[in-house]
């Protein structure tokens, strides 16, 4: 079987100790919470940390505080199962509960954390392979190589943002708290990501993501749809997060964010703007879905063909909007929609 390479595991009990340990070991260190992404990547030598700073012993990182009326604060170490099953999240931020509940499989959701999913490494089927496989195909720039195997002429890495929760948190207007030994800051989720498969997080190496802050839920409706081959286990190859605030029958505010079609969650702002001030009619939904497909620019480095993922963007955006508009009236259950 594949074995983990040797490493030193530190188990701080406080956030301060964790931040200090991370600062002390610099680039040799990585943090680990659930380990569902990190350990397999270590076995394949995608990550080669000498030191792991374990976050599981830090109580402050777990749990949900506050209320939907004032805004919820979710500890980054809260498991995805706990997020998916949290009654207030399920009722008031349904897209987040849906997205958390669609990550991987039940066993991995019991270990994996919300913070881990927000920070999950970008994926590419030239990169998520063993060291021997990558050697056989010729290493890529994300690890051990010089070029991008998906787009060899490109100067950058095109690995895919593969978080289910990131596009949802972005669409909900969430923020995250980042703590380092030198201090802390709070940033919008939209500012946490950048469109580069390697430097996909706008986060300093010494910073630990500690909390996810959700704004008040009042008046907002949200939905998340996920494209993948199977009903479990698979990462998204397209995610559609939609959040709307309705004013009477008209849309007051709207955000549409696409997952897994770029190295970052990608907002479909033009499409969202076309919703504002309008009634959610089938005609409007069709027009907005077409607009939303514009920013969807997948490449051939995940499951399914990339033209198919592009084509499905329109279908999924339309379905998410129809569900939020209650237009899906044929009596069938709308399975993937929160």
């Amino acid at each position: 079987m594949m074995r983990l390479p040797p490493f030193t595991y530190l188990a701080p009990r406080t956030l301060g100790d964790a931040a200090t340990a991370l600062a002390e070991h610099g680039r040799d260190a990585m943090v680990v919470a659930g380990g569902t992404d990190l350990y397999p990547n270590m076995k394949r030598l995608q990550f080669e940390p000498k030191v792991l700073v374990g976050l599981r012993g830090i109580r402050d990182l777990r749990g949900v505080r506050g209320s939907a009326r004032e805004g919820l604060t979710i500890g980054a170490g809260t498991t995805l199962s706990a997020v998916a099953g949290h009654p207030e999240i399920a009722a008031r931020y349904p897209a987040l509960a849906t997205a958390a509940g669609l990550v991987s499989s039940p066993q991995l959701r019991n270990m994996g954390t919300l913070g881990g999913n927000v920070c999950v490494d970008t994926r590419c089927n030239y990169y998520n392979q063993s060291h021997e496989w990558r050697k056989a195909v010729g290493f890529c720039m994300k690890k051990d190589g010089d070029i991008c195997l998906v787009a060899p002429a490109s100067p950058r890495c095109w690995a895919v943002s593969s978080s289910d929760t990131a596009p949802v948190l972005w669409s909900l207007g969430a923020r995250v708290r980042l703590v380092a030994a030198s201090g802390e800051r709070t940033v919008e989720v939209s500012a946490l990501y950048q469109d580069d498969g390697i430097a996909y997080l706008a986060k300093q190496p010494g910073e630990i993501l500690t909390e996810i802050l959700l704004p008040p839920a009042d008046g907002w409706k949200s939905a998340y749809l996920k494209l993948r081959r199977r009903g479990s286990f698979d990462f998204p190859v397209l995610g559609v997060a939609v959040a709307l605030r309705l004013e009477g029958a008209r849309v007051g505010e709207a955000r549409i964010v696409l997952g897994a079609v770029a190295s970052t969650p990608r907002p479909a702002d033009v499409a969202a703007a076309a919703l504002v001030g309008e009634r959610l009619t089938p005609e409007l939904i069709a027009r907005v879905a077409d607009l939303a497909a514009g920013p969807s620019k997948p490449l051939d480095n995940t499951d399914f063909t990339h033209p198919y993922r592009k084509k499905m963007t329109r279908v999924f955006v339309a379905r998410a909007l129809r569900a939020l508009a209650g237009l899906d009236g044929s009596g069938r259950p709308v399975e993937e929609v929160a």
Binding site: P5, V137, R230, S232, V315
Partner: protein
């Protein structure tokens, strides 16, 4: 999952009267038996169920021996390359490394499972032929050290162009993957003809030509291959391995290690899923033995999941051209099939696989004239071999989809058409195979009834596309129901459809892998004074339940409980040879051997007990752990007492049982592949929904009726059937062993897409019993046949739902959208391969068709008395 069983016995079923009722109750026992079944037919747990579910089962990777070292193989990163230099010195120098070897350290012999394809090296010496070929190996204190040491082995390669498809290999005869075979990069070419196909087509009212492609896929067992070798200080060698074929591994070890077979022992550990993937001898098994000889330590090698994808031996990708003539009523006048198999880098079972893409086809339906041409092509990919259904799911897909198309053109209900053309019992096929019983008609009737086919199918909804290449039978086509039959349903992007398909499969290959006149399966049965019976048999339980069968059958014969039978399987030093768990042979062959041994024991016991009770031996009944005369049951002795009486009279009670299949091979070259003691039959209906916006397919229900001859344990048969359905669904909708830039695209459990439980529909299993005279208590196979109709039934249901013909699997959502787009453009809504390779098959061997000749009801078998 639900299941039910029926007894065959309609005119379409067995020619022999059916005995016994449901679960062995409620009917008169047959005259040759003294009582109704006590074990056979009961849904008992497997004898290893408790150890499995509690995690007690010791798989090969669970074995830990004192001083054991861990081995690792260094594998080629090149698809095709010459090895210029290889140096393991740096690996040997690493602390913790006990040994590092290359091919130069091993006997220079090639090996392979088939005598005609000895083309594998344990560690490649001059040339590598695929990414994943092993070139060196290390034994070290732990797996981590072994892995690090492998990276220190220096190998200098001179890359050669890698040929990654049938077309590439045929187009580049100047690049040779192997020097042997039936032509440049052609491993095997076969051409057989039974009757005059051209004359048969001339008689037909409709002749269809279609091209199909079936993508390769892999077994994906939960357990990765593992082996532990121990070369003892006495110079003898033991290998524990997760193998389906310990006997063949035994033979290969002796050859590859150049040591006497008499000093080699192979023990098959419990196998955590095989499906044909552990049926070859593998480099890691041989290397573990060699490293153990060098180090004097036990050595374990456990493959990673990625390495299992390279070991492979899975489903061949097959391109097929199929031409069939039909009468207006749906009868087949003749059939001609050409198959091209992408064999990968080595021979493996490929010669047999090539034959199997042709020779089983005439078993399902009346096919009076038949021609088959097949060619297996070498490519620089992991070798393909036997996977559940071995070479037959691919042509079965082609045939069943083509029959569906023909039924549409002829305006026939595809269920009625198949029912009409089902093979007749106790007849021979065009290619001289003997069909004994067949429950196919009953299988069709049962799935039609259970699925509500008549109410759901309701005619052809989409007009068959007329194209110049496809002669359409004018009258029948115009008379065919068309759009008017479409149900009125709410406008929706989700469309429902049903599809049907049938199949047949062999119950054990009629010939061994190497030519010999010895038994295919043997047991040794010993009765103990405790009342226990011990059975030793070389059969390997890969989850199908052969250990349990080996307990049930002696228990049935001797009237004791299965728990009183100790089963010792698959140890070449202790157990008589069973050839292995492949070709659905084990229940029948080891079952027959077990019954024979048990009957021999029973005869001896009866003689002793008869003397004691002063009755005739023929009056005695073995039942409920006792032996006695039914009229004086109060005087019956316990089985343990009966054993004592018998042992006192006869000495040690140990009896062999032997089985070899009837010698029915067709008297022509190639006639040895295809014969089987009997064939199982299956019919399947699938109901599904297609999302016209996404192309996604959702399966709702699968009704599957399987003629298993007799369900020795209906629970196990249902389990095999459901497992086959699951595997068929994966092959139909998502699984693909595919390559990109010369490497396997997704060698992991995450990225090689196989269905999860969430993709499983409700499976309704119906067991049909025909009580075949060749099988143990009438039983046929159940492990492979039920897979076969599933992919074509899905393709046919997709057509019924949305009018798109998918002539290729796996059927991805993109393909369905492409078909729908073509339909919108008024084109033929077909997706699938467009052309066939330019390839000249050799002149066919022309043999007279044996179609319809009567078959003797019960054949004479070797070792029968």
């Amino acid at each position: 999952m639900s299941a039910e069983r029926t007894q065959g016995g309609s005119s379409a079923g067995s020619a022999r009267a059916i005995d016994g009722g449901r679960f062995g109750r409620g009917a008169e026992p047959p005259s040759e038996r003294k009582h109704e079944f006590s074990v056979v037919g009961r849904p008992l747990p497997k004898i290893d169920a408790w150890t499995k579910v509690t995690g007690e089962t010791k798989y090969a990777d669970d074995l830990v021996l004192p001083r054991m070292a861990h081995g690792k193989l260094l594998r080629s990163p090149h698809g095709h390359a010459l090895i210029k230099r290889i140096d393991a010195a740096r690996a040997r120098a690493l602390p913790g490394v006990y040994a590092a070897v290359t091919g130069a350290d091993l006997p220079r012999v090639k090996f392979g499972i088939l005598p005609v394809s000895q083309d594998e090296e344990v560690l490649c010496t001059e040339k590598v032929r695929m990414v994943g070929d092993a070139v060196a190996a290390v034994a070290a204190v732990d797996e981590e050290t072994a892995e690090r040491a492998c990276r220190l082995i220096d190998v200098e390669y001179e890359p050669l162009p890698a040929l990654m498809s049938i077309e590439e290999s045929l187009a580049h005869p100047e690049i040779r993957i192997h020097e042997y075979g039936d032509g440049p990069n052609v491993h095997k070419s076969v051409a057989l003809q039974f009757g005059d196909v051209e004359a048969a087509f001339a008689k037909a009212d409709l002749v269809r030509e279609d091209v199909f492609y079936y993508e390769g896929n892999t077994h994906l067992p939960m357990e990765q291959h593992a082996a532990v070798a121990h070369a003892g200080p006495d110079g003898k060698l033991t290998l524990w391995s997760s193998t389906q074929t310990p006997h063949y591994v035994h033979r290969v070890l002796a050859k590859a290690l150049d040591m006497p077979a008499a000093h080699v022992r192979v023990v098959a550990t419990p196998v955590g899923g095989g499906f044909g993937g552990k049926t070859d001898p593998f480099a890691h098994e041989i290397v573990a033995c060699h490293l153990s000889r060098l180090t004097g330590r036990p050595v374990k090698i456990a493959l990673t999941r990625e390495e299992v994808f390279y070991a492979h031996r899975g489903r061949h990708p097959v391109l097929m051209w199929l031409k069939t003539g039909f009468t207006r009523q749906g009868d087949i006048t003749g059939c001609h099939i050409k198959t091209w198999l992408d064999g990968g880098a080595y021979g493996s079972y490929g010669v047999a696989s090539t034959f199997y893409t042709g020779v089983i086809n005439p078993v399902t339906y009346k096919m009076p004239v038949y021609k088959f041409e097949g060619a297996r092509v070498f490519t620089n990919k992991p070798p393909c071999g036997p996977k559940r259904g071995h070479g037959t799911p691919q042509p079965r897909f082609a045939l069943e989809v083509q029959i569906d198309k023909a039924a549409e053109q002829l305006g026939l209900d595809p269920a009625d058409m198949r029912r009409r053309i089902a093979a007749e019992p106790f007849t021979k096929t065009a290619n001289h195979l003997t069909v004994t019983t067949t429950g196919l008609v009953e299988c069709i009737d049962r799935v039609v009834e259970a699925s509500g086919w008549r109410a759901k199918w309701r005619g052809w909804r989409f007009r068959a596309p007329a194209s110049p290449a496809q002669p359409v039978l004018g009258e029948a086509s115009e008379g065919a129901p068309e759009g008017g039959a479409r149900r009125s349903e709410a406008p929706s992007e989700k469309k429902r459809g049903v599809g049907l398909a049938c199949s047949a499969y062999l119950t054990g290959a009629g010939t061994a892998i190497y030519w010999n006149d010895m038994p295919h399966s043997g047991v040794l049965l010993r009765a103990d004074r405790s009342g226990a019976v011990t059975i030793l048999c070389g059969a390997t339980d890969i989850g199908q339940g052969s250990d349990s069968i080996l307990a049930y059958l002696p228990a049935e014969v001797l009237g004791i409980a299965p728990k009183d039978v100790h089963v010792h399987p698959a140890d070449t030093s202790l157990t008589p040879v069973d050839l292995g768990s492949y070709s659905s042979r084990v229940t029948l062959m080891c079952g027959m051997a077990a019954i024979q041994a048990a009957e021999r024991l029973k005869t001896v016991i009866a003689k002793a007990v008869a003397g004691k009770l002063e009755v005739g031996p023929g009056e005695l009944v073995f039942r409920d752990g006792k032996v006695g005369a039914p009229e004086e049951w109060d005087k019956a002795v316990t089985f343990a007492r009966a054993v004592e009486l018998a042992e006192a009279m006869h000495g040690v009670l140990a009896f062999p049982g032997s089985y070899a299949p009837p010698k029915r091979a067709g008297k022509y070259k190639g006639g040895g592949v295809g014969p089987s003691p009997c064939y199982s039959y299956t019919a399947c209906v699938v109901e599904l929904t297609v999302d016209e916006e996404t192309g996604e397919v959702e399966l709702h229900d699968v009704w599957i009726a399987h003629d298993v001859g007799r369900a020795l344990n209906p629970l196990l048969v249902e389990g095999q059937t459901e497992g086959s359905v699951y595997m068929g669904i994966g092959e139909a909708l998502m699984e693909g062993q595919v390559f990109r830039k010369g490497v396997h695209k997704q060698p992991s459990m995450l990225d090689y897409k196989s269905p999860t439980t969430l993709e499983m529909p409700e499976v309704h299993t119906i067991l049909v019993e025909t009580d075949d005279p060749e099988g143990p208590f009438g039983a046929k196979e159940a492990g492979q046949g039920p897979l076969l109709p599933v992919p074509p039934a899905i393709a046919n249901a997709i057509y019924h739902a949305v009018g798109v013909r998918c002539d290729e699997v796996p059927i991805a959502p993109e393909m369905i959208l492409k078909g729908l787009e073509r339909r919108r453009q008024g084109k033929a809504a077909r997706v699938g391969p467009e052309k066939i390779p330019v390839f000249k098959f050799k002149e066919p061997l022309v043999v007279e068709s044996a179609f319809g000749q009567p078959a003797e009801a019960i054949a004479v078998r070797p070792f029968q008395s």
